[in-house]
């Protein structure tokens, strides 16, 4: 446990330092800062991977059953995706904004208990349910990142401010498309997670659990993202209004992840 804590604390410290350096680089670009931040980000990724492997060995099972593990895993997924993306394309600002979001999750996990708090029996379906849910949350996190970047760049273009964010930001159309695709990926994954969770509930409790607040809020969340796609496809909604709505949807994800879980019979994530 002590080793795990040291590993995680070091990971959070390096992650924080990396994000701070990325921020400095965004404000006042310097190649050395950018490279150092990237190096630290990679070191954080390695540390978190080691942490997960260590935890896997200690628990003897996939570490996804506690709020701490779930949030850490989302942060790890964000780290992994951005590092792979940056290796192939220079995603620059996306790397910073996505990892700012990832760091927020890791930092929040930092204050959550590490011990298992699930009261329900474990099983393969439960792991799949949580796994799908976390990956969908990661996809929504990316949709949020692209939407936020869109709103900032849109503001700059309207305000005619030609600063460094403007130079480094991808075009609005690309950000809009990336946000759309992230939602397109997250939506079916969340649906699968919900279906698996319902089946798991039936097998475990012996009945379908309809009245759990988490199930209700997740369905609402799914509907919100569904509406985003519908608005885009049917009524031609696009641009700042739609991406603003996507940002709102992600606040609902955070609320669902952090607040609603506390009232759930089974979910504490």
């Amino acid at each position: 446990m002590a080793t795990e804590r040291i590993l995680y604390d070091t990971f959070v410290a390096l992650y924080a330092l990396s994000v701070v350096l990325f921020f400095l680089d965004a404000v006042h670009p310097r190649r050395a800062l950018n490279r150092t931040a990237l190096g630290l980000l990679f070191a954080s990724f390695v540390l978190e991977t080691v942490f997960f492997l260590d935890r896997l060995q200690a628990l003897g099972t996939v570490p996804v059953l506690t709020p701490f593990d779930a949030l850490s895993l989302v942060a790890w997924l964000i780290l992994a995706v951005t590092l792979v993306l940056d290796a192939f394309f220079r995603v620059d600002l996306v790397l910073f904004v996505a990892n700012l979001t990832g760091f927020g999750m890791a930092a929040f996990a930092f204050f959550r208990p590490m011990g298992a708090v699930y009261t329900a029996p474990e099983g393969d379906l439960l792991y799949l349910h949580i796994g799908f849910a976390l990956v969908s949350y990661t996809a929504f996190a990316f949709a949020f990142v692209f939407s936020l970047m869109y709103l900032v760049e849109h503001r700059l273009l309207r305000a005619k401010r030609w600063n460094r964010w403007h130079f480094r930001s991808p075009p609005l159309d690309k950000l809009d498309r990336l946000a759309y695709r992230s939602i397109l990926l997250g939506l079916p994954l969340l649906l699968v997670a919900m279906v698996l969770g319902t089946i798991w509930g039936k097998l475990t409790v012996g009945r379908f659990v309809y009245l759990d607040p988490k199930l209700f809020s997740t369905t609402v969340l799914w509907g919100m993202y569904g509406i985003s796609l519908l608005l885009r496809a049917r009524s031609g909604w696009s641009g700042p209004r739609l991406v603003g709505y996507n940002v709102l949807c992600f606040t609902a994800v955070i609320a669902n992840l952090l607040v609603v879980g506390g009232f759930s019979l089974f979910h504490h994530v």
Partner: protein, 472 residues
């Protein structure tokens, strides 16, 4: 031996001097041939563009090389040319070439055309047989770092002309312009120029709307676009993703009412409107309408200024790339075993000449200063001429297969001891070269620290005064 560059450019010489010294393409072969024939110059490349004429040369003696190049420029451009001439040696010459190849020495910072011109100049010299191992390596590395400056630092990517700035803004909204429709309002010069740039980006369709239909038809024909009668302006606005307006009208051509009606027909798709006209064609209030990105000429000039500032910032990154490339070139030079041997042979030759001069001074005490200077010059000339071919052959054989064995023979023939060679090997060609020979983590940490320090110092990366001649 030294690497020397002599030249004049837009910063140092007015156009009337530059045009006199420039080497037209038709004269280049003869110029290179003349340089091949001279004893002073061992390798040479002539770079002549509208903004600069420079000769890069490997010379046996720094002073003789400088004299030769000064004379060469004076012959072409008259005495006035010498006044505007700059001469750089060894590391500074190599650094200058790399800065030129990266566009850092250009009229428009970071322009890309010069890289092609440097490559062409090098290839012409190489084909003519004017280059050898030293300039081949130097120019290849300079071209390489020039490519990196464009590809990695992207110094030439931010446009510095108003018409390109308009395209940059359009791309910031739409990214890829394939499939986008453009409406050009007015058929003026600026409209044509911007339309030209947009057309090169692969737009789907273009319409030209002008009060005089015939002029619209004329411009439309030029780009394969469709002419639009003035009365159909609203229809064109409703269809267009990009509007470029540059009419000579005194009032607003596109007001909020017209724009509002057109936008209502196109749904919520964004539209970029670029108003290049003075007085303006588009009512600024149109910019407040949803999904409209409206820019006027001042905005475009603001973009150009910001782009120039960004290029200056990127230039600092490029300077660091150049410093790395110079370090690598210095390391390569140090690796050439022939260098210390040549240095030792030259030193021996100079020592003999100095000894002869001393002996003459003793035996002929009545010699005037001028006579002594004349004797010094001629005896030095004997040494240079005597060593010219052996040195050239040493260089060629050193890079050939089994060069090491040849070098041993040369050392024996000239009576160069191992101690002499060691001494010259230790006297690094460029101090940085030996510094960078290490590796591992300490080296990495040192480089990292240096990089941060360099950034703190801004552009002053390689303070002058730390240079040493490439060859003694």
């Amino acid at each position: 031996m030294h690497i020397v560059v002599a030249g004049l450019n837009h910063k140092t010489a007015p156009v009337e001097v530059r045009e006199r010294v420039s080497v037209p393409e038709g004269e280049l072969a003869e110029t290179l041939a003349a340089m091949r024939r001279t004893r002073t110059v061992l390798e040479s490349v002539v770079l002549s563009t509208c903004n600069r004429t420079e000769v890069y040369a490997v010379v046996s003696s720094s002073r003789a090389g400088e004299d030769y190049l000064r004379t060469w420029f004076a012959r072409r451009g008259g005495a006035e040319a010498s006044e505007h001439l700059y001469i750089r040696e060894d590391r500074e010459a190599a650094r200058h070439l790399m800065r030129v190849a990266c566009g850092l020495d250009s009229l428009v910072l970071g322009e890309t055309q010069i890289l092609g011109q440097v490559r062409d100049a090098y290839l012409a010299a190489a084909d003519a047989g004017n280059t050898g191992a030293l300039l081949n390596q130097l120019f290849r590395r300079a071209i390489q770092v020039g490519k990196r400056a464009q590809a990695e630092a992207g110094i030439g990517q931010n446009p510095v002309s108003v018409s390109y700035a308009a395209v940059q803004l359009v791309r910031k909204v739409f990214g890829d312009l394939a499939g986008k429709r453009v409406l050009v309002v007015g058929a003026g010069k600026m409209s044509r120029l911007t339309a030209q740039h947009l057309f090169a980006q692969g737009i789907a369709a273009m319409e030209v709307c002008n009060r005089t239909l015939a002029r619209a038809q004329e411009l439309a024909r030029e780009f394969g676009a469709s002419p639009l009668p003035w009365e159909a302006l609203e229809d064109g606005l409703a269809r267009a993703d990009v509007v470029i307006s540059s009419t000579g009208a005194q009032g607003f051509v596109i007001d909020t009412a017209l724009a509002g009606r057109a936008l209502a027909r196109r749904g919520r798709r964004p539209v970029v409107m670029v108003d290049i006209a003075v007085p303006r064609d588009i009512d600024p209030a149109v910019g407040a309408l949803g999904q409209v990105y409206l820019y006027d000429i001042d905005d475009l000039e603001g973009v150009v200024a910001a782009n120039l500032a960004e290029r200056e910032r990127l230039a600092r990154d490029v300077e660091r790339m150049i410093a790395d490339a110079l370090r690598e070139y210095g390391r390569w030079l140090a690796e050439q075993e022939v260098v210390p041997l040549i240095a030792a042979v030259r030193e021996k030759g100079e020592a003999i000449q100095a000894s002869v001069m001393e002996s003459l001074a003793r035996k002929l005490p009545d010699l005037s200063e001028r006579e002594r200077e004349l004797l010094h010059k001629h005896t030095m000339s004997i040494v240079n001429q005597l060593l010219r071919d052996p040195v050239k052959n040493m260089k060629e054989l050193a890079i050939a297969q089994g060069g090491g064995a040849h070098l041993e023979v040369f050392a024996q023939v000239f009576g160069i001891s191992d101690d002499d060679l060691r001494r010259h090997r230790d006297a690094s060609l460029w101090p940085e070269a030996s510094d960078a020979a290490g590796g591992g983590l300490p080296e990495l940490v040192r480089h990292w620290g240096e990089a941060l320090r360099r950034e703190g110092r801004g552009r002053d990366i390689d303070p002058p005064g730390t240079l040493q001649p490439a060859f003694r």
